[in-house]
């Protein structure tokens, strides 16, 4: 018999797991075993009673606090920093205006978003127009408004050179650069490649054309980037381009735009550890980027403005979704399943994250492992493959935390209509910032051709076939 020393620690096999967003988490993650009864001191139960379940809740306080954390991280390390709110991340006007009121410009990728920014009162010269699909009209409008046009491909570059002479000023342009930063997948679909010289070719064409004002360099290396050092690589490469522009064309660029991509504290699917423990902080990203720029060969007296298009990391924490339990089920193999009144229609990000889901009422410390499904009649409508939760019953409320980014833009009106979105302001007052959809609203865009209007129902006859009323044989 082997003699174990009782003092010794329990041994678990060492394991390493590749974090792969496509593979779900086999471990299941412990939910926070404290109920969430309040959001910014407003009762969750009351919110659901007044605004319905499900309902999205945004905290203005958290938005502003997060923004100021991010700003401080960069302002303390670099002389000139400008945030530009990434509209696609959450373009509810109330949300955009919180960030604008904190000094953010607007970063848009479509005419829809561009016009939204203008309507929100953002001056044209504080709008960054990204994206691969800008029509001639979009470009002309952006030129007229002095917006910064970030060129995505050579077709757009030539189009701008063609459009420029019709205006009395040089369009302000930057190029989007894609590059190898060690991050996979490389987003080389967008912009001009650094390594193969395409970016330099685009820069030379713009400057030599003398029809466009070359203002800056832009990159967006990906989203939810867990490595701050990838940003250091990206910033160094853009800085090298800036130095080369100075050498060859004797021109200082006005800005370097590092795009978005900072991770929020959500937990990626398949990750063994909680996102809160693994995501770099704003300080980590800021340190990587600003050190790379400051240590570059850019003339220290002419440091470019540093622009950041941070989306996800600024708003994820501020958003919650309150929902409720529809039913408990047992699957054929004995596993438990819980059906919620919200699914992937509202939580697009559940494809990527193991969302933190917490009951909103007191519970015992017993818990069980269950699969959380949404209410859609679709197999893909799964919110968590495996989650440990206290036993919940029909009608119990839960709070899904950190859902502020991308859900209120990528949600879909499928089977269900979209619910209300409310904002809790700094004084704790609740405002509806988007009403729930109604059938009338959804159908307001539809047209029904005359011959399909009010076709009498299946049994009420009145159908005409070949000009004759259809006889329905009631004996069949």
């Amino acid at each position: 018999m082997e003699n174990y020393n009782m003092e010794k620690l329990n041994f678990e096999r060492p394991i390493i797991r590749k974090i792969n967003t496509g593979i779900s988490n086999k471990f299941g993650m412990k939910t926070e075993f404290e109920p969430i009864k309040h959001i910014d001191n407003v009762g969750v139960k009351g919110l659901a009673a007044e605004y319905g379940s499900p309902v999205f809740v945004l905290s203005e306080k958290t938005m502003r606090r997060t923004f100021n954390d991010a700003k401080r991280a960069f302002d303390t390390r670099y002389p000139k920093v400008q945030f530009s709110w990434s509209y696609k991340t959450n373009y509810l006007n109330a949300v955009c205006n919180v960030f604008h009121s904190e000094g953010s410009w607007a970063e848009v990728v479509s005419r829809f978003e561009y016009d939204k920014a203008i309507a929100n009162g953002v001056p044209g010269n504080k709008i960054i127009f990204n994206g691969p699909d800008k029509t001639d009209d979009d470009l002309n409008t952006a030129i007229k408004n002095d917006s910064f046009i970030h060129i995505d491909h050579f077709d757009e570059l030539y189009k701008l050179i063609e459009l420029a002479p019709k205006h009395h000023k040089k369009p302000k342009v930057a190029i989007r650069v894609n590059m190898d930063t060690g991050i996979y997948p490389m987003w080389d679909r967008f912009g001009f490649n650094y390594e193969n010289g395409e970016a330099w070719e685009a820069i030379s064409k713009i400057i030599i054309s003398n029809k466009l004002e070359f203002t800056g360099l832009h990159t967006h290396i990906g989203t939810f980037i867990l490595s701050a050092s990838a940003y250091a690589i990206a910033a160094s490469k853009l800085a090298e381009l800036a130095v080369r522009i100075k050498l060859k064309f004797h021109k200082d660029i006005s800005y370097i735009d590092m795009g978005g991509g900072f991770a929020s504290s959500n937990t990626l699917k398949g990750s063994y550890l909680m996102g809160i423990d693994t995501s770099p902080s704003f300080d980590d990203y800021a340190e990587a980027i600003t050190t790379a720029l400051i240590n570059s060969d850019i003339d220290p007296d002419n440091m470019p403005l540093l622009i950041l298009e941070t989306g996800r990391a600024l708003i994820d924490d501020a958003g919650s979704l309150i929902g409720s339990v529809v039913a408990n089920k047992k699957l054929s193999d004995g596993r438990k399943a819980t059906i919620m009144d919200f699914g992937v229609n509202l939580l697009f990000t559940s494809f990527w994250y193991d969302h933190k889901i917490t009951p909103a009422q007191d519970f015992s410390h017993h818990s069980e492992t269950t699969t959380l499904y949404g209410p859609l009649c679709m197999n893909i409508d799964q919110i968590r493959e495996s989650i440990s939760l206290p036993p919940l019953k029909r009608g119990d409320l839960v709070v899904v935390s950190k859902v502020g980014a991308y859900n209120m833009t990528q949600w879909m009106q499928f089977i269900m209509m979209r619910p209300k979105v409310v904002l809790i302001d700094k004084k704790g007052e609740v405002h509806i910032i988007r009403h729930n959809e109604t059938r009338e609203f959804v159908e307001s865009l539809e047209e029904v051709p005359l011959h399909l209007k009010k076709a009498k129902d299946v049994n009420g006859n009145k159908h005409k076939h070949n000009g004759k009323p259809v006889e329905i044989d009631s004996k069949n």
Partner: protein, 81 residues
Amino acid sequence: MKINKKIAISESGFVFNPTTGDSYSLNPIAAEILDMLKKDLSEDEITDALLEKYDVTASVLHRSIDEFIDTLKEMKILENE
């Protein structure tokens, strides 16, 4: 056998390989072993240290460490010199 110099290991048991862009998570004992590898401890030294600390037989431990090291090599986190 040497740990790939470019690999970043966070204290929270998170590994990032900048060459491939891959991220990995470790359980606590895996993080402990990787830390010892980083400090250039040999496989025998690691085995001895763990035998001392954990309630495990030598054969189970050997098998676990061998398997783990093979996995690290597959993932290019460890390299043969």
